[in-house]
């Protein structure tokens, strides 16, 4: 589903965000990407969803080499990737329902399906009472859930979530994780970037740690994580 080969990303003037990263994510896999702030998690997600191109190396997503992707193919690829952004990227003057519907509208789904899915997602995330509320009037936790609902709304093949539980209490966190687990059980590949140990501590899924733009080896990871926890 995702193949990254020796990818490097440097922001001007010389900030190395990712260095010589290689990663392979199987179809239907759920992967946790962890590490401290500034470790390169968000940059890696940006590379995967094609927002940023790598300076070196190759990124292949859903069978498409992003370096060789034609401009016309970009939207179609993005429709297959659901992204829950760290800064939510919601439209504050639109209702919750309209924000979620946007992801399906760009894929030209019919209105009935869109309405049904919006209601179902809001119920799953306990936001049904906010259907007509303006996104700008929601709390950060609620906005985060709306962003997650929008990311999964189009039933994408790949879901990327950047700190999806950063603003949530433990109860809502488990609701969100349940939603991700559900999509994963249907075969959706999910990559979650988080620094919250509690989310992946008891999980069977693969956890990869980033440190200063490089992957930390698994043995090394245990030490770093322990240090991080301490």
């Amino acid at each position: 589903m995702v193949e990254i080969v020796r990818a490097t990303k440097i922001y001007p003037p010389d900030v190395v965000a990712l260095e010589d990263i290689s990663l392979s994510v199987r179809k239907g896999e759920m992967l946790f990407l962890t590490g401290m702030s500034g470790a390169g998690k968000t940059t890696l997600l940006k590379l995967i969803c094609g927002i940023e191109p790598p300076d070196k190396g190759m990124v292949e997503v859903i069978g498409k080499d992003l370096n060789r992707l034609k401009p016309k193919e970009v939207p179609l690829l993005r429709q297959q990737i659901g992204v829950a952004y760290q800064d939510f990227k919601l439209l504050p003057d639109r209702t919750v329902a309209q924000n979620i519907a946007m992801a399906m509208e760009v894929a030209y789904l019919n209105l009935k399906t869109i309405k049904k899915r919006v209601i179902a997602l809001l119920q799953q995330l306990r936001l049904e009472h906010k259907h007509e509320a303006l996104a700008g009037n929601l709390s950060r936790g609620e906005q985060q859930r709306v962003a997650i609902a929008r990311a999964v709304a189009n039933s994408p093949s790949l879901i990327l979530a950047d700190e999806p539980t950063g603003n949530l209490d433990s109860k809502t966190t488990s609701l969100v994780m349940k939603l991700f687990e559900q999509f994963n059980s249907w075969g959706t590949t999910i990559i979650i970037a988080t620094h919250e140990e509690s989310i992946f501590r008891k999980s069977d899924h693969r956890v990869i740690e980033l440190h200063s733009g490089r992957f930390v080896q698994s043995e090394e990871r245990t030490t770093t994580t322990l240090n991080y926890m301490l």
Binding site: K72, L90, M102, E105, L111
Partner: protein, 295 residues
């Protein structure tokens, strides 16, 4: 179908959000169309009137002496050699006198003491309809005045010249109002779309990230331009029609409008004006998107 319905929903949503600026643009487009079509309507009616006056155009050559039959044949040959004509009529002194007497009607007695041969003989030349421009008529008249025995040529020079200058002036006004129409519609629509694009930059960015295709983002803006063209021009033409009706109601009777026999645009011209407005508005929208949208 799904594409169309989604795009239409998106367009109506955009229009709801930006209706004040859209409304102002609509009024500007309507006003420009009204100004242009008003002068254009006058122009085409004047041209039409000119054509009907042209049907009655005749050049009269006053002669020194009545030409004999051989001379008449020679004159006809010379005239038709220079320019083909509809008809050539020879009028003798006696015919001219009788014609004047008939025109005087009850006042014919004023001619009682006059010599019936006091009027000069003349030749009336009815030119072909294609002889319409003032230069052509002038040149023909100059030629006719060089014919042997010709004293003077008359064709209502003053009137024809004034009419010609008037139509020239109208043509300039029509061209200027046409330029005004092009500039205002294109720039106003482009400016409105530019404002809409800038105001919705964040939304467009999110749409791009969600995988919106270029046509999904651009088409609503093009439809907005298209609608501005359709409704703006229709509103302008409807306003012009009411103005036309009002003028007809208030200026009927013996006057200029009756002589000219004013008529409104034919459906073909209405269609052309609407199509041109649609083209200009959609073009304005397209150029604005090319400049300000980074997709």
């Amino acid at each position: 179908m799904k594409f169309l319905s989604t795009i239409l929903i998106q367009t109506s949503r955009n229009l709801q959000k930006t209706w004040p600026s859209q409304f102002m643009t609509l009024l500007t487009v309507s006003l420009s169309v009204l100004i242009f079509s008003f002068f254009f309507l006058i122009y085409i009616n004047i041209i039409k009137a000119g054509e009907s006056f042209g049907d009655d155009l005749r050049l009269t050559i006053y002669m020194e002496e009545e030409p004999v039959v051989e001379m008449q044949v020679e004159l006809v040959r010379k005239i038709t050699n220079f320019s083909p004509v509809e008809e050539i009529r020879f009028t003798s002194r006696e015919d001219a006198f009788n014609k004047l007497a008939a025109q005087l009607g009850d006042n014919v007695d004023v001619l009682d003491d006059l010599d019936p041969s006091f009027l000069p003989p003349s030749i009336e030349v009815l030119p072909k309809k294609d002889l319409s421009s003032l230069t052509q008529i002038k040149r023909f008249s100059e030629y006719l005045s060089t014919l042997p025995g010709a004293i003077k040529v008359q064709y209502g020079q003053d009137w024809v010249e004034r009419f010609n200058y008037f139509t020239k002036l109208l043509r300039i006004i029509v061209v200027l109002s046409g330029i005004l129409l092009i500039l205002t519609t294109t720039f106003m629509v482009a400016y409105t779309i530019r404002l809409a694009v800038l105001a919705r930059q964040a939304e467009l960015e999110i749409l791009r990230l969600l995988g919106a295709t270029s046509s999904y983002i651009r088409t609503p803006f093009l439809i907005e331009g298209f609608l501005q063209g359709v409704f703006g021009s229709s509103l302008g033409l409807v306003a012009l029609y009411f103005l036309f009706q009002w003028l007809e109601m208030h200026f009927t009777g013996p006057g200029f409008l009756q002589i000219v026999d004013f008529t409104f645009f034919s459906p073909l011209i209405i269609g052309i004006i609407i199509l041109a407005s649609i083209f200009l508005c959609t073009g304005g929208s397209y150029s604005s998107m090319r400049k300000f949208m980074r997709i």
